[in-house]
Symmetry: C2
Subunit: 266 residues, 2 copies
């Protein structure tokens, strides 16, 4: 290297792409590293609801808002900006690694294999996922082995979802169900409940957490017998207990829900 040529000219210009987990919504549940990454970003990409949740941002930061279904296009846009040397944050609610933007970002990179995209400094900042926030409000329903399943069949066949629900139920896992319903599939949550009722007692505790950590949060503790499909929507996370999950009465008339650490194996 010739003397006198600044290093920055011969070295590749390094952009940065951070996939940032906002957590469930409250600022008090977002990791400081995620906050710092949002503060340093020049471009912020995401579903508009989540970008608003992550703000406010400074006038020198550029917001790129997109619809909820456009994960892959958003990921490609983020790489294009970062490959041009920008510091980019792609925001996800919850944990970006759990049914959120991280997988889409790696899918985009895998499909392109563009050397400029590969040279981007890529980091994933984890967050507290919706099931964890709902579990903490309800008690400790995830206190023993559990499975996390998305009921959305946009990207996988419904038969696989049924197979996984049956396997998890038969092996007495607690279940955390994401994306339980949508306008496009109003009846599948009921199908899932019917399937689970073949394995679990009617009194099995069920926790419905909606927008936990946001101003309109709602927590419902019900049972496999009593739950109704119209109590859940796309923003609800559903936790279905195992055979050992218990209710514990609280002084205010509601119940804690927890799954003990022990299991006799039957």
């Amino acid at each position: 290297m010739s003397a006198g040529i600044p290093l920055a000219i011969v070295a590749p210009v390094g952009g940065r792409l951070a996939v940032v987990g906002l957590g469930p919504g409250a600022a008090g549940l977002m990791a400081p590293d995620a906050r710092a990454e949002l503060d340093r970003a020049q471009d912020i990409l995401g579903y508009m609801t989540y970008v608003q949740m992550a703000g406010p941002f400074r006038p020198d930061q550029t917001l790129h808002l997109s619809d909820n279904r456009e994960e892959l296009a958003r990921a490609r846009h983020a790489f294009t900006l970062a490959a041009a040397g920008r510091h980019v944050a792609v925001v996800s609610s919850g944990d970006p690694g759990v049914f959120a933007m991280a997988a889409a970002v790696f899918e985009a990179l895998d499909q392109s294999r563009d050397p400029a995209w590969n040279a981007v400094e890529l980091v994933v900042l984890p967050g507290i996922s919706a099931a964890q926030a709902a579990a903490a409000r309800a008690g400790a329903p995830l206190g023993h082995d559990f499975c996390v399943i998305s009921l959305s069949d946009n990207l996988k066949p419904w038969e696989l979802i049924e197979r996984r629900l049956a396997a998890a139920a038969a092996a007495d896992f607690v279940l955390a169900l994401y994306n339980p319903v949508s306008l496009a599939r109003p009846t599948q949550f009921d199908l899932a409940l019917d399937l689970l009722r073949q394995y679990r007692a009617p009194a099995t505790p069920v926790v419905l957490g909606r927008d936990i950590g946001r101003p309109a949060e709602s927590l419902i503790v019900t049972s496999l017998a009593d739950i109704r499909g119209d109590q859940v929507d796309m923003r609800t996370v559903v936790i279905v207990g195992s055979s050992t999950t218990r209710l514990l009465p609280r002084d205010d008339g509601t119940n804690w829900v927890y799954t003990p650490r022990w299991h006799d194996g039957k």
Copy 2:
């Protein structure tokens, strides 16, 4: 109520018990609400390693350090202090709701049903769990349906663990395995691997995350064929991919690991 008598004298003296998730270890991954709870606590209880991780604390705060195996005794001690009106924090690494202190606290409450314990203001503050931190460093291996299983048979029979591993493997879940080995059970991780090898291809990616977010963090990306039992210890979280989990080469010669959002169901 007579005029002139301060409300605080006739109202019950309310203690507070917070079960606080520290996250994986780095201060930048601990939720601000967890930090605030630690700052307001008068008594901090926990396994000594975790209490040290959560500190430093002020001289007016009392630390109660205990051994890792004494969860139930620690939970009872916490209720006794809180029922006497103290503000108490019980610390857990990761998420207290995931194989940590929250379930033990509810077990203690359930076993006692002491009205004074029930009157304590009880809150659980979630955190980022070890599997999430390891997944974020590795890429997005938990990007699709996954199961979270503790391999410890201290509180459940090994047969149940094998049944759950087989069910999760047969239904093609990604697996996140906590407590993979201990001095008391050196060979069970190898048994678990042998079982998983009956369902998954030898090239299936495996992520070993140890002390992620702490100074001595180590991340190993290997495969079901190549992993050796001596690569893991009690502080390692093991993520075993599904049939769709992929490696993606990085410029530094290592690989990202991610599980795409889609699955063809086969």
